[in-house]
Amino acid sequence: MRKLLMVRYGEIYLKGLNRPYFLRALVARVKEAAKPFGGKVWLHDARVFISDAEDMDGCMQRVAKVFGVHSIAPAVEMEKDDFEGICEQANQLMQGLCGTFKVEARRADKHYFLDSPQINAKVGEYVLMRNEDRLKVDVRRPEHILSIEIRDQAYLYCSVYPAAGGMPVGTGGKAALLLSGGIDSPVAGYMIAKRGVQLVAVHYHSFPYTSEFAKQKVLDLAKILSEYCCGIRVYVVPFTEIQMQIHEKCPEDYTTLIMRRYMMRIAERIAQKEEALALITGESVGQVASQTIEALGVTNQVVSMPVFRPLIGFDKIDIMEYARKIGTYETSILPYEDCCTVFTPRHPATKPKMALIEKGESRLDQEALIRSAVENAEIVEL
């Protein structure tokens, strides 16, 4: 008998011939997550198992953040032929619980000497006889489900914890996330990473208009994301020079939009360098002046890669809720100036005219500015 974690995957079940590819990625990600805890990880019989972790709870919490994992159950593995032992172990698992329960057996080994309803009945009876003062059987809406899986071995568990879901990171290619210090962009990054996409983050730093604290905040946010994403490389792009030139040479109402266009261009350049195939932003229609449909069109125009905006139809309040769920909210609301608000114009253009933008941009040495920004970016591995 030994204790282990039984990890179940979700959407990968739906894959056909490609399933082994996704499973290899999933196991690799779970192995990375369990490594600090010294856990052994293996795939067997449509489940990923983790044994020998020093801190089972800590290991479980970490693995629950691995995309592709649907749920995790701390389970007991035992010899399936020792049915007495199984009954007693089931009884042990139910100690400390009260209310209603049922036993839910699943039999992958169809040659087992009992079928599933028989296992349910026998184990249920065994447990009930010994805990009549605390437990009652309810097969329709039980408070506790005692699961027994008969495979090569028998596995017993009575708690199943939901995990992050999604697809294993790396199976969906790579994309560059425009990461500000705000609430939205970390959520956008999370959502795309959850679909198996590896992230590389691009952050624009405008010292002295923004501080070391602001930069550290973004790195802290990236660190939170990196737990889900198996590491993130962050490009901290020096952006002061570009902002100053835009401020000096372009029409005031258009400075934000032109700045956004530069951000997209630089992000695309970094994405190409990183062999990423798309950009991700936290934009949502109408949230601010640079996120009207017209403005989004204008910023989208300067890149040829697909731009993913997973929050496009979200209300701010829903994004905040999501940020709380993934643990980025508290960091996002720290009040440091961010580069987007440094030179906010009094009346930003919400229905921009292309001719004015192009005229403004023609006064800037675009290629030199972008090249210098990309070349001087600081790279931080998290």
């Binding site: 002295p208 208009y209 501080s211 070391e212 401020h247 000096e248 440094v342 030179f343």
Partner: protein, 378 residues
């Protein structure tokens, strides 16, 4: 090499204090409440520090010193402790008080009211006069404002108190003034005086509350009954040793005022639009070590970081509140115009600063202001 001009936020622990603390931790580490001889030595050290504090504050005969963790706790003990004793009445505090005083007044159970500032950041005595009545139980005013360096008219406040509310407790927050600005507790007729070690080159985590015999306080922390049962908990003897050394070492004759005036002159030469927030820097109402200057149109936060880039560290408003709100409540209370308030930086000196540092800092300010004033939000 960096130039540190944020000494009102905190100071570098002086060598003497650091050495005294190490000695205390390694050799004189005994619990002063213990009964063997070395513990008596620890008690003696504490007594020496109490005497040094009393002397430096010119406390009246019979005054006591309670050691505690710092300025915030000292203010809290004075205000909450007094309110718990009297239980009813009004509490007046000046508009520019540190949150440790303001919040304590607002939550102490007395009816809290603010005494307005004038445009120089000094307590408006006329307004105080109209606020005073016999039901005032507590008056709080700082010795020196932490943001502007304005030296408050404590004697006048005490005189008004004596006329109308003679039983009111007068608490003075001396965190920004202790040792840097002469203070005569007896002459000011203050009942309690709060001070903090880390503003005068002692370590963080040590402070004191001086109490005259008239002061009536209930404890805020109970337990073993240390500090005359006003602040239970084993005494922070290393901190107290550090505080003693820092007080002894603090040069009362120092060139801070001249350096501050030099810095101000150099800033004025480089940035004609610069202006001082608070009393005239060369006047007697201005503390020698604090200079609050607006450098429009450059926003304070931007300038602060630009100077940081040049290795010059300055403050904006109070360090405790820099992240909370953009415009400082002190400047707001002085009715400082928004543009001026948004660009206000605080330079705070210590006796270790040099003329060369002032010149380098002023050059950095000139350079950054010339560059940044072209690139500001319109």
């Amino acid at each position: 090499m960096s130039i540190y001009l944020d000494n009102s936020a905190t100071t570098r622990v002086c060598a003497e204090a650091a050495e005294a603390m190490v000695r205390c931790m390694r050799e004189g580490y005994y619990n002063p409440s213990a009964l063997y001889a070395p513990a008596l030595e620890a008690q003696k050290q504490m007594r020496l520090c109490r005497d040094a504090v009393l002397k430096a504050a010119h406390a009246p005969m019979g005054s006591r010193v309670v050691f505690l963790s710092g300025g915030t706790e000292a203010d809290n003990l004075a205000i909450l402790g007094h309110a718990a004793k009297v239980r009813a009445g009004r509490a007046l505090y000046s508009a520019g008080e540190h949150p440790a005083v303001k919040e304590a007044c607002q939550s102490c159970g007395l009816q809290a009211e603010e005494i307005p500032y004038d445009h120089e950041g000094l307590v408006d005595l006329e307004a105080l006069k109209s606020l005073l009545s016999s039901d005032v139980a507590l008056i709080c005013c700082m010795q020196v404002n932490n943001e502007t360096g304005a030296i408050q008219p404590l004697k006048e406040i005490a005189r008004l108190r004596d006329e109308t509310a003679p039983f009111a407790h007068f608490h003075v927050d001396g965190v920004q003034g202790f040792l840097r600005v002469p203070f005569d507790m007896a002459a000011c007729k203050a009942d309690t005086y709060a001070l903090s070690g880390h503003k005068i080159h002692a370590p963080k985590g040590i402070g004191a509350l001086v109490m005259t015999p008239r002061a009536q306080l209930n404890p805020r922390q109970v337990g073993g009954g240390q500090e005359n049962a006003l602040r239970s908990g084993t005494e922070n003897t290393p901190g107290i040793a550090g505080l003693l050394s820092a007080i002894r070492r603090y040069p009362t004759e120092n060139g801070m005022r001249q350096l501050k005036l030099l810095l101000w002159r150099l800033i004025q030469e480089a940035v004609p639009e610069a202006s001082v927030n608070g009393p005239a820097p060369d006047g007697e109402k201005a503390a020698p070590h604090i200079l609050n200057v607006s450098l429009p149109p450059v926003r304070a936060e931007t300038m602060l970081h630009a100077l940081e880039g040049e290795g010059v560290y300055v403050g904006m408003g109070s360090a405790c509140s820099s992240f909370k709100q953009r415009i400082s409540p002190v400047l707001k209370a002085m009715h400082t115009p928004q543009r001026q308030a948004e660009s206000a930086l605080r330079f705070s000196l210590c006796p270790d600063n040099t003329e060369e540092e002032m010149r380098i800092a002023a050059q950095a300010i000139a350079r950054q202001h010339a560059m940044l004033s072209k690139y500001q939000r319109r």
